[in-house]
C-alpha cells in the first residue's frame, strides 16, 4: 500500500441492538481504504448486525458510524448510496426479473425523475455484467439461474451501483465449495482490478484467511481480535471465540492459516497419538 492508510469507514463507541436486546456493545473499528476485511465469529455474535450498521441500514443505539470522516446518519442517504453498497445475506427479487433489469436497478442512486437513464448508467451496467461474467445471462430471469450465478448477478447489481465500498453479508451462503471459491475470486478481482474496499461477513475461516487483508474476530458483540489473518487466526483465538479445539497449520497453497478442527471423534487419539485404524 503506497498511499497513506486512509480510514474510509469508522465506528465509534457503537452499540447496536433491536429494542431491549443489545447485540453489539461499545465497538470501535476502522476500515482502511483499499483493503478486504473479513468479519468472523460464532452465530449470533453480532457480525451481521455490525455490517448493517456500517451500511446505515440499522441506526445505532449509541455511538455512530463515520463515512470519510462525516456522520453517515447525517449524510443524505442517496449520497451514501454512491459511496457504500450493501448486499444482504439472502436478498429477494420479484419473479420474472431479468439479470439485466436487476443490475440496472443498481443505478438507482444515480437517477432522478429528470434523469432517467444515461450513457453512464448503460456503461456501468455492461461493465458490471462483463466483470462478473454475467453478460450472456442478461436476458435470463433470476429463477433460471443456479445459486452461484444468482449470487454473481446480485454482486453485479452492487457493482453497477459504482460504490468505492462494498459490504457483503455472507456472500457464499448456500453455495458449494467450488462456487464459494468462485464468488470470493470475484471479490478479490473487484478489489484488485476495480479498487473496491470490501468488508464481508464470512463463515468459512479458511476462506476468510485466504481472501482478506484483515480479519476481525467477534464474540458476544465485541471485537476479540483484529489484524492480519496469521496474527488473528490462532489456536488460542479459536478456543476463545468459537470454543473450538483446532490445530492451525500453514495452508499448503497460500501459506495463510488453515484451521483443522479436532472434534470429539479424534480428540482422544490426537492427545494419545494412537494410530487410527477404524477410520470408517
Amino acid at each position: 500500500m503506497t498511499a497513506a492508510a486512509r480510514v474510509r469507514l469508522r465506528a465509534e463507541g457503537l452499540s447496536l441492538g433491536y429494542g431491549e436486546n443489545r447485540v453489539v456493545e461499545g465497538l470501535d473499528l476502522d476500515v482502511i481504504d483499499g483493503t478486504i476485511t473479513a468479519v468472523i465469529g460464532p452465530n449470533g455474535c453480532g457480525k451481521s448486525t455490525l455490517l448493517r450498521a456500517l451500511g446505515r441500514l440499522l441506526a445505532p443505539q449509541e455511538g455512530h458510524v463515520l463515512l470519510d470522516g462525516k456522520r453517515i446518519d447525517k449524510t443524505p442517504t442517496r449520497e451514501v448510496a454512491k459511496i457504500v453498497g450493501v448486499l444482504p445475506q439472502t436478498p429477494v427479487a420479484p419473479d420474472g426479473l431479468t439479470v439485466g433489469d436487476l443490475v440496472a436497478r443498481g443505478r438507482h442512486p444515480h437517477q432522478a425523475w429528470y434523469r432517467q437513464w444515461s450513457a453512464d448508467d448503460e456503461g456501468a451496467v455492461s461493465e458490471a455484467l462483463r466483470m462478473t461474467g454475467m453478460l450472456e445471462f442478461a436476458e435470463r430471469t433470476l429463477d433460471q439461474l443456479s445459486g452461484g450465478q444468482r449470487q454473481r448477478a446480485w454482486i453485479s447489481m452492487a457493482l453497477a451501483q459504482g460504490t468505492d465500498l462494498l459490504l457483503l453479508d455472507e456472500p457464499t451462503t448456500y453455495l458449494d465449495l467450488a462456487h464459494q471459491v468462485d464468488v470470493l475470486d470475484l471479490v478479490q478481482q473487484l478489489h484488485d482490478q476495480a479498487g473496491r474496499t470490501v468488508i464481508m461477513v464470512l463463515h468459512d475461516l479458511n476462506l476468510a484467511a485466504r481472501y482478506s487483508d484483515r480479519l476481525i474476530a467477534m464474540r458476544d458483540g465485541k471485537i476479540v481480535a483484529q489484524g492480519a489473518p496469521q496474527d488473528v487466526l490462532t489456536e488460542q483465538l479459536l478456543s476463545d471465540v468459537f470454543d473450538l479445539d483446532a490445530r492451525v497449520v500453514p495452508d499448503p497453497v497460500a501459506g495463510t492459516p488453515l484451521v483443522v478442527p479436532i472434534g470429539s471423534r479424534h480428540r482422544v487419539r490426537v492427545d494419545s497419538a494412537a494410530p487410527a485404524d477404524d477410520t470408517m
Binding site: 448510496a81 420479484p94 420474472g96 431479468t98 456503461g123 453478460l135 442478461a138
Partner: protein, 362 residues
C-alpha cells in the same frame, strides 16, 4: 463512478469495440423497450374501441354514425340525449375508475408483496361504506354529493388508522402488519356498518344502492367531483414507481440504494387511498379489477413498475368498460351491474391464471 466506465459505450454509439456481447445486451434492452411501447399503444387503441362500444351499445343500440353525430354536433335527437346525458358520463366514470383501480391494485400488491392483495386491503372500502351509512343515518340525506365526500373522508380515515396501527410494532409498517391491521379495521367497520343498517331502514335502502358497485345511475357530475383526487393519485403513483422498484428488492437493498423505505410506503399508500377512495365513493366497491388486472399486466411487462403501472391502468379501464357493456347486453332489456359482471368473468379468469402458473412472488 469514473472507474466503472472503462468499456462504457460512448454516448453517441452503442457499438463497443472490445466486446461483441455488450452491444447485444444494449440492443436487447432497446428492443424490449420498443415492444413495451408498442404494447402500450395497442392497449390505448383497444381502450378507445371499448369507449366507443360503451357509448354505442346498450339497451338501445345506437349506430356509430349516430354516436359520432351526438358527440360532434348534437342537435337534441333522442339518441343525442341518451348519449350525452347517460352513456358518455357512464363511460367516463368507467374509464377513470378502471384506470384508478388497475393502478391502485398494482401498487397495493407491490407494497404488500402479496399477489392476492387488492386495493381494498387497507380498509378503504369498509371505511367508505361506514362513513356513507353513518352520514345517511345522522344527516338523513341521500344527496349523492354529500355522500361522495363522506365516503372519501371515511376511506382516508380508515387508511390512516390502518397505517398507524400497522406501524406500532418495532419494525414500523411491514407488509404483514399492514395486512393484519387492514383486516382488523375492516372487520370492525363492517360490523358497525351492519349494525347501523339493521337499525335503520332508510340507511339500508340508500346503502344497498351504493354498495351494489355500478357505473349506472350515478350523477354525471360525480366524475368531475372525484377527478382531481384521481389525477393526484395517478401522479403520486408514477412518482412512486422507481422507489417501488427498489423496494421490491427488499427493504435492506432499497435502503442501500439510497431509497427511503418509509417515504416510499407513505407515498404509495397515499396514492392507493386517493385512487381507491375516490373510485369507491363514486361507484361503490368494485372488486376483481384491482386484483386481476395487475397479474395480466405483469404477464406482459414483468416486474418493472414504471411499465406495470401504465399497463395496469389501461387494462383496468378496458376490463371495467367491457364488463359494463357485456352486462348491458346479456340481460336485455334489463342489465347486470358491473360489479356482478366482473365477478362472473373475473373469478374463472383468475382461477385459470392461478392454475397456469404458480402464484407469483413479488
Amino acid at each position: 463512478m469514473e472507474r466503472s466506465v472503462t468499456v462504457a459505450t460512448p454516448s453517441g454509439s452503442r457499438r463497443s469495440p472490445r466486446s461483441g456481447v455488450a452491444p447485444q445486451q444494449a440492443d436487447a434492452t432497446v428492443r424490449r423497450r420498443r415492444r413495451r411501447l408498442i404494447g402500450l399503444l395497442v392497449l390505448v387503441l383497444v381502450l378507445l374501441a371499448s369507449v366507443l362500444a360503451s357509448i354505442a351499445i346498450g339497451s338501445k343500440p345506437i349506430a356509430l354514425a349516430d354516436v359520432w353525430h351526438a358527440l360532434a354536433t348534437p342537435t337534441g335527437t333522442e339518441d343525442d340525449i341518451v348519449i350525452g346525458s347517460l352513456r358518455v358520463p357512464r363511460t367516463m366514470l368507467g374509464l377513470v375508475v378502471g384506470i384508478s383501480l388497475g393502478v391502485a391494485g398494482a401498487l397495493m400488491q407491490g407494497h404488500t408483496r402479496n399477489p392476492l392483495a387488492d386495493p381494498g386491503l387497507l380498509g378503504v372500502n369498509q371505511g367508505a361504506a361506514f362513513a356513507i351509512v353513518l352520514s345517511i343515518f345522522m344527516l338523513r340525506t341521500d344527496d349523492i354529493y354529500t355522500l361522495v365526500w363522506f365516503g372519501f373522508a371515511g376511506a382516508l380515515v380508515a387508511t390512516v388508522a390502518v397505517f398507524a396501527l400497522g406501524s406500532v410494532g418495532r419494525g414500523g409498517p411491514t407488509p404483514v402488519t399492514l395486512a393484519l391491521a387492514g383486516a382488523a379495521i375492516s372487520a370492525l367497520l363492517y360490523a358497525l356498518t351492519s349494525a347501523l343498517v339493521l337499525l335503520d331502514a332508510q340507511s339500508l335502502e340508500a346503502f344497498r344502492f351504493w354498495r351494489s358497485g355500478s357505473l349506472a345511475g350515478r350523477d354525471p357530475e360525480i366524475v368531475l367531483q372525484v377527478l382531481p383526487f384521481l389525477v393526484a393519485g395517478l401522479v403520486l403513483a408514477l412518482v412512486n414507481s422507481p422507489g417501488l422498484n427498489a423496494l421490491s428488492l427488499g427493504e435492506d437493498v432499497a435502503r442501500s440504494l439510497g431509497q427511503s423505505v418509509m417515504l416510499t410506503r407513505v407515498v404509495g399508500i397515499a396514492a392507493v387511498t386517493l385512487l381507491t377512495g375516490a373510485a369507491v365513493s363514486a361507484c361503490g366497491p368494485i372488486g376483481f379489477v384491482g386484483l386481476v388486472v395487475p397479474h395480466m399486466a405483469r404477464a406482459i411487462t414483468g416486474p418493472d413498475y414504471r411499465w406495470l403501472l401504465p399497463y395496469s391502468g389501461l387494462l383496468g379501464a378496458i376490463m371495467l368498460l367491457v364488463a359494463d357493456v357485456v352486462g348491458r347486453v346479456v340481460a336485455r332489456p334489463g342489465e347486470l351491474q358491473v360489479g356482478i359482471m366482473l365477478a362472473l368473468v373475473g373469478a374463472p379468469f383468475f382461477l385459470v391464471l392461478v392454475r397456469r402458473r404458480r402464484l407469483v412472488r413479488l
